[in-house]
């Protein structure tokens, strides 16, 4: 494999990750070959220890593979240095975490605009995009509140707005519904599906939640660091 095609946003080539924390090597990933194309709404599932977390860390550039290569939007991220990776994540990847992980000392508006500040977007444009994004996730009127003044569902909406505001190619979501009640989780999933349809952004979930699996258009099951099944609905 020489290079990814334009519509292929993530390509992994024999990605292997070996952890060796106490001198005992543990193979977390065993030569994963996967291609994810733009606009997918994909769930990566599997039992604990199957390698979901490690796989998402590697395709997002948060961690590096022991062997193999990862192409993201046509670039080999496994060969980028710290600053290049930071910039690449800033411009191409949006993260949604299980525990929301908003910056507690920043207001909703400041949390959402932080990534744009890093990218040097002008104040007026930042304000405009934050407003638009908060409207899209149904959070108008809470711009000046701190995360602790919001419910779990509202915080996760802010996290989605933060992930999407810089218009990245890919949204990576780690168990986004795990801390939410089923109704709120369902509403958020509906919203993400709608945003996926409207914007064409690629959504990749790591999940155990059957609701997420139901809504995913592609389901990749990992087992013992390898792709066990890969089905498209």
């Amino acid at each position: 494999m020489e290079q990814t095609q334009n519509h292929e946003v993530i390509v992994t080539d024999k990605v292997t990750k070996i952890f060796d924390p106490d001198g005992i090597p543990v193979n977390a990933l065993n030569g994963i070959d996967l291609t994810i194309t733009s606009g997918e709404f994909t769930a990566i599932v599997g039992p604990s220890g199957s390698g979901k977390t490690t796989f998402l860390n590697i395709i997002s550039g948060l961690d590096t593979p022991t062997e193999g290569k990862v192409w993201l939007s046509g670039k080999i991220i496994s060969e980028m240095n710290g600053n290049e990776l930071s910039d690449f994540r800033r411009d191409n990847i949006g993260f949604i975490f299980q525990a929301y992980n908003l910056i507690p000392v920043l207001t909703v508006e400041e949390n959402v605009e932080y990534i744009m500040l890093l990218a040097g977007v002008s104040k007026a444009e930042r304000h405009e995009r934050v407003k638009k994004m908060l409207k899209a996730v149904g959070l108008e009127g809470v711009e000046d509140r701190l995360p602790t003044q919001l419910s779990g569902g509202q915080q996760q909406r802010v996290a989605i707005a933060r992930a999407m505001v810089s218009e990245p190619t890919i949204i990576l979501a780690d168990e986004p519904t795990a801390n939410l009640d089923s109704k709120t989780g369902n509403d958020l999933l509906e919203m993400m599906r709608r945003l996926n349809d409207e914007t064409g952004m690629t959504f990749i979930f790591s999940t155990h939640d059957p609701m997420v699996m139901d809504r995913a258009r592609r389901l990749i099951t990992l087992r013992d660091g390898q792709v066990d099944t890969d089905e498209t609905k």
Binding site: T53, L62, D63, G82, F97, I103, V105, E110, L118
Partner: protein, 409 residues
């Protein structure tokens, strides 16, 4: 970006108010201590210089070259009239007075003692020394009585005499070495904190001393008081060359008492050493505070890294927190430092009678506040705080997002 970093730093410090307040007070106390010690050192230095110069020494003295070492009676000031005429016109000279010296014996009906007999001009001497202020019994000098002698309390006690009692002083004359004796009547008894002055000095009118020493109208010393003591440090002034001719030399108090000058200079180093020790404590306090705060927010830092904050950006967040902590601490320290120093600058510190660096302190020490203490030391605290923040900042910068988030995805 600057504004959001400052907001992040400030709000993060407010997240754990108690810890921030304790850390700020600790740093602030360090700064306040530095301000106070600096003010105290200035006050002490001024006090000691004043004690050394105002009691008797003067700001500067003119002697015949070699007199300071040999104390030879014949080594009187050359071209005295020219020298005094020039001094009278010198703009930086406030007052000057002539003196003569000789070692001798002073005898009372009860006892005998060695004495340094000093001939002075009463009218001008009072501007140069504090003998008149130190009189505890009797008077300074009576109108024109050439037989007046003023002695110290200890000498009076040794000789078992009081006011109006008679004494006989014996000295060796210049040149011939023949003994000269004169009778005097005690007109005043002085008391300085310095016991050496109380037991070993006796003052008579200069004319009588010149007769006894057989030195004509000559003198051994001209003591000078400048309009500002700062002139003693300004060696480039023509004054110092002008009066170091005709075989004479002019010396500042620092040259007459070099040991005091050296020790005062050394006291500056002790201040710097104390500063380094205090800043060392401050640095470790800041590092500890920042690391505690950092480990509490590890996942948050992981998120910031994950969403695209560069390593240098992460370091900047920590440095902004360190800087903000420094600003808060400087405000606290400056207020405490100003308050305590101003209080003691008003009340003074009683070190009287204590001998320090070879000088017996005679007056309360008043710490001296100056603007530099509120510029230099706060700037140093800020700089040291930023330096202290470099280590945690580097620690955060080199952290990978995965390490920071631990559980990550």
């Amino acid at each position: 970006m600057f504004f959001i970093l400052f907001k992040l730093a400030w709000r993060n410090l407010l997240r754990n108010k108690r810890r921030t307040i304790i850390a700020s007070i600790a740093i602030g106390i360090g700064l306040a201590a530095l301000i106070f010690v600096d003010a105290l050192m200035i006050g002490m230095t001024q006090n000691m210089i004043k004690t050394a110069t105002a009691s008797f020494l003067g700001d500067a003295q003119i002697h015949r070259k070699g007199y300071q070492d040999e104390q030879e009676l014949s080594l009187t000031i050359q071209e005295l009239d020219k020298v005094t005429a020039k001094l009278a016109k010198e703009a930086i000279v406030h007052y000057f007075t002539r003196r003569t010296f000789s070692l001798g014996m002073i005898t009372s009906p009860a006892n005998v003692s060695a004495v340094n007999l000093i001939g002075v001009q009463p009218s001008t001497e009072r501007y140069l020394s504090q003998i008149d202020d130190a009189i505890t019994k009797g008077v300074y000098f009576k109108d024109n009585d050439s037989r007046d002698i003023i002695i110290g309390t200890k000498l009076a006690e040794n000789l078992e005499i009081g006011i109006e009692d008679r004494v006989v002083v014996t000295v060796a004359q210049s040149g011939s070495g023949e003994l000269s004796q004169e009778g005097f009547r005690v007109s005043g008894i002085f008391h300085f904190v310095d016991e050496a002055m109380n037991s070993g000095m006796a003052f008579v009118r200069i004319k009588k001393a010149q007769q006894m020493f057989a030195i004509g109208d000559n003198v051994h010393e001209i003591a000078i008081k400048f309009t500002s003591t700062a002139y003693t440090q300004e060696r480039e002034l023509p004054f110092w060359k002008t009066y170091s001719q005709y075989g004479n030399e002019v010396l500042s108090w620092a040259e007459i008492l070099p040991q005091l000058k050296i020790i005062l200079d050394m006291s500056k180093y002790s201040k710097y050493i104390m500063g380094v020790v205090l800043f060392g404590v401050v640095i470790f306090g800041i590092i500890n505070t920042l690391f505690m705060s950092l480990y509490e927010r590890m996942f948050e830092f992981g998120v910031l890294r994950a969403v695209g904050t560069r390593p240098v950006g992460m370091a900047r967040i920590i440095l902004f927190e360190a800087g903000t902590l420094a600003i808060v601490s400087i405000a606290i320290g400056s207020i405490i430092g100003f308050g305590i120093t101003a209080l003691f600058a008003h009340l003074g510190l009683n070190y009287t009678g204590i001998e320090m660096m070879g000088v017996t302190i005679q007056e309360y020490i008043f710490p001296v506040l100056n603007i530099q203490q509120f510029i230099l030391y706060p700037a140093a605290v800020f700089l040291f705080t930023i330096i202290a923040g470099l280590y945690p900042a580097w620690h955060v910068a080199k952290m990978t997002p995965v390490d920071a988030m631990r559980r990550s995805f």
